[in-house]
Structure formats: C-alpha cells, structure tokens
C-alpha cells in the first residue's frame, strides 16, 4: 500500500514536471502536449483507451509468465553446464542484438497477426534480462557451500535445486523487475509491427492522425500499467529475497 501511495505521488510529480517542461521550454503541443490536454484526450477517449489497454495488459501478462519461465529454465540450464553456457551465451546475445523490429516480418510470418506474435515479441525482450540476472546469481554461490555440498555427495541436480536456485532468487528478482518494465514495451512494439488492437496500435493511429494528445494519453496509460506491474513484481521479488 505504501508503495502504491508513492507510485501515485510519483505519477503526480511526473505530471507537474511535465507541465513545467511544457511551460518552460514552450515545446509546441503537437510535439509534447501539456498534461491537461492529454487528460482531456484521455477522458474523451476513455472507452477506446480502456479497451486497447486491456488487450495490451493480457499480452503483457502472458509474456511475463512465459518469459520468466523460459528465462529461468535457460539460466538454470546454462548454470548447470559451463560448456553449454560458453556456447549458448553468444548465441543468446546474437538473438538479443537483433532489434526485434527487424525480426518482425519473420515473427508475424510464423505467429500471424494475432496475440501470439505480440506475446512472442515481449517474451523475446524480457527473456534476456531474466536469464542474465538469474544466471549471474546461480553462479555466485560461495565456494565453501558448494564444496560442502559435493563432499555430502550431492547430485548436481539437487545442488541446483536446493542451493543454487534459492541462493539466486534475489538475482532473479532483479531480472524480474527489469522484465516488468520491458514487457509492456515489447508488447507495444509487437503491436506496432502488426495489430488492430492494443495500446501500441492506438499510439500509431494517433501518431498517423497527428493526434499527439491521444498518443500521449495512450503512452501515459502504458506507463501507469508498467508502474503497477513493477510494484507488483517488486513485492514478489522482495519476498524472494527475504530469507
């Protein structure tokens, strides 16, 4: 609850800052509309925004679950086999280095223009931070504990399960918090590549029609969504880190 209050305080502060920037720099409204204008646009289009936000929220939720599971599994696999790690990590980076935008035609070819391609896009984006952060945690178990586990005759599988994974949960938390922020962007990019619903679609539409205020209203909705997601994930990750 505390967190949520601060989140709203921050949202308010952002609004003030935003209005301040608009006043001070005199940036024209078609580049950066004032919060008041955006608020009006948001209110006028509230049904439209809500409908599209719901679509994006579903994509994000799905992607977050899938991406976390995939990322966690990958990290565990990589940590279990140093050779696999050395071979696979560069490949992972390869795939990450390719802007998803460039992969879009391939993805839509395989996954179509439905929800799947957006989820895949978001999964692609969050997969790497989750994998990377969790992997780092898995490989930083103090040597003394591993020595003990080995003299106890622990199997690698059980050592992973009982020692490395619990030890790396705080690091997984770090990755999850990043993922919470990236997943919505991933979904929006997915929508940009081809969609007929969702906040990303709405943004493009508003952009094409030079309705900058509607675009920023969608952006603001997206930002709030991300913020709530981050608050939720931080709670989960704090629980993971507390032992």
């Amino acid at each position: 609850m505390m967190r949520l209050r601060y989140a709203f305080a921050a949202a308010g502060f952002t609004l003030l800052l935003w209005q301040g920037i608009v006043w001070i720099t005199g940036v024209p409204p078609f580049i950066l509309p004032s919060p008041v204008r955006v608020g009006q646009a948001a209110y006028a289009n509230r049904v439209l925004i809500a409908e599209n936000a719901w679509v994006t929220a579903c994509e994000v939720g799905l992607a977050l679950i899938i991406g976390t599971v995939l990322g966690a599994i990958t990290a565990v696999r990589l940590a279990a086999s140093p050779r696999l790690h050395r071979l696979l990590t560069p490949m992972l980076i390869f795939t990450q280095a390719v802007p998803v935008f460039a992969l879009a035609p391939i993805l839509t070819l395989w996954f179509g223009y439905g929800i799947a391609s957006k989820v895949v896009m978001a999964v692609l984006i969050i997969y790497f931070p989750v994998t990377s952060a969790f992997y780092d945690g898995l490989t930083r178990v103090p040597a003394g504990i591993l020595d003990m586990a080995r003299t106890m005759g622990g199997t690698e599988r059980q050592i992973m399960r009982r020692i490395k994974i619990p030890h790396a949960l705080p690091s997984l938390g770090t990755g999850l918090k990043l993922a919470a922020v990236y997943a919505p962007i991933g979904a929006v990019i997915g929508e940009w590549v081809g969609a007929s619903k969702g906040l990303g679609y709405l943004m493009l539409l508003a952009n094409g029609r030079a309705k900058t205020d509607l675009m920023f209203a969608s952006l603001f909705t997206l930002a709030i969504m991300t913020l709530l997601l981050h608050v939720a994930v931080t709670k989960v990750s704090d629980r993971l880190s507390r032992y």
């Binding site: 003394g144 504990i145 020595d147 003299t151 106890m152 059980q158 020692i163 619990p166 030890h167």
Partner: protein, 240 residues
Amino acid sequence: MQAPAIQLSGSYHIDGTCLFAPIDMTLPAGEWTCVLGRSGVGKSTILRLIAGVRCEGDFQGEITASDGLPLVGRVSVMAQSDLLLPWLSVLENTVLGARLRGEVPDLQRAGNLLEWVGLARHAGKKPDSLSGGMRQRTALARTLMEDRPVVLLDEPFSALDAGTRADMQDLAAGLLKDKTVLLVTHDPAEAVRLGHQIIVLTADAAQPWTPPSLPPIRDQYAPETVECQAQLLAHLRRAQ
C-alpha cells in the same frame, strides 16, 4: 561399512612458499585423532585435503585409505565456518545431505539429533535468528546426520560454553564410535579428553603426543589427564 585408517604424507606449497614440509600422519581406523597447532599452520588445509576439496595451494604427496579404496563419498566434514544455508530452517539444514543426494531424509533421526544438541525448540528457526553457538550446533547436527565412516571436524565446539561443549563432546564421541575421526581443536583439554591419538602440527612435522593411557572419553579431572593436559599446553606454548 568398516572405517578405514587414513595415511597422509607429503608437503604443501601455497603461492610459492612452503606451508608444511614433508609430514607424515596416520589416522588410525575407528579412532579419534586430535590435531592441535598454531593458528595458520595448516590444520584446516589438511582437513580439506583429506576431504578432497579444492585447495588453493599445491599438495605434493599422497593420501590413502587402508582399504585401498578412494575416500570420495566416505567422508563427512564439518568446516570451520558453519556454512548454514540462510533460507533453510534448522531442521532443513540438518537434513541437507540427504536432500542433496536425492534421498528421503530420516526426519526421526534429525529430530533426535536436534533434541540431543539442544535445538529441538528451535528446529523451525532460520539460521539468522540463532546465536553463534546455536549455529555451530546446527552444523554439528548436520555433520552427525551423515553416516560416513570418516568424519572430519574443524573446531566443532569453539563457539560453545563449557557445559554445552562437554555435552556435545559426549554426544559426538558416542555417535562417532568406531569411525575414523579427525578433530581439529585449539583446546588441549578437549584433545586430551577425546583423542586416541594426539598430533601437534608444526611447519616441519606432524608430531604425535602421547595421550593418557586410559581410553577416551577420559575423566577431565583424573590426575593423569590433568597432568597430560598441562604438559601438552606447556609444549604448545614452547612450540611458538
């Protein structure tokens, strides 16, 4: 499984300097060997060598079991630091070995052990909410849970008050009867009370020290024990 005797001979270098010159020591089968020596002389290192754990330095020599079989899987170790896993409760830490081997832990025995080390009331607590001595006793319980023929204990009672310490010594001596035990300790009284064999480790040699003639566990106040203890202490002081 019959406990083997263990023979260690060799020298150990670390970062180019010699930690101990060729030394030679035997842990007799089924008996307690107590090792004493100055801080930093290499007691824990020898323990790690026998346990087969990765060491920074370079050991030249060999470690053999009297039955000719490798030691891997037959050794249980209690390290100098407690190495408790902070996310597991005392009970879970105690049964960690079985869990790591993928076996079903003997919770009955674990409960008994915790009872004996005086932690039954604290079985559900996390290590962070234990006192130093309680942590050490948890580590001891975890080591005793492992039913291995060779047991290596690195200052297992150092954080315990005199009363608890004597109790734990009795407990360990009882449970590790007929095992080959290496006990690293700083307390001559402890060595004299528990050791079938006492070894004083210096940079040059692993020098045996004759224990009292009675078998352990010895009465701490018996004249012979007191005498032996005083002489050992004097010897250790001289060895500086």
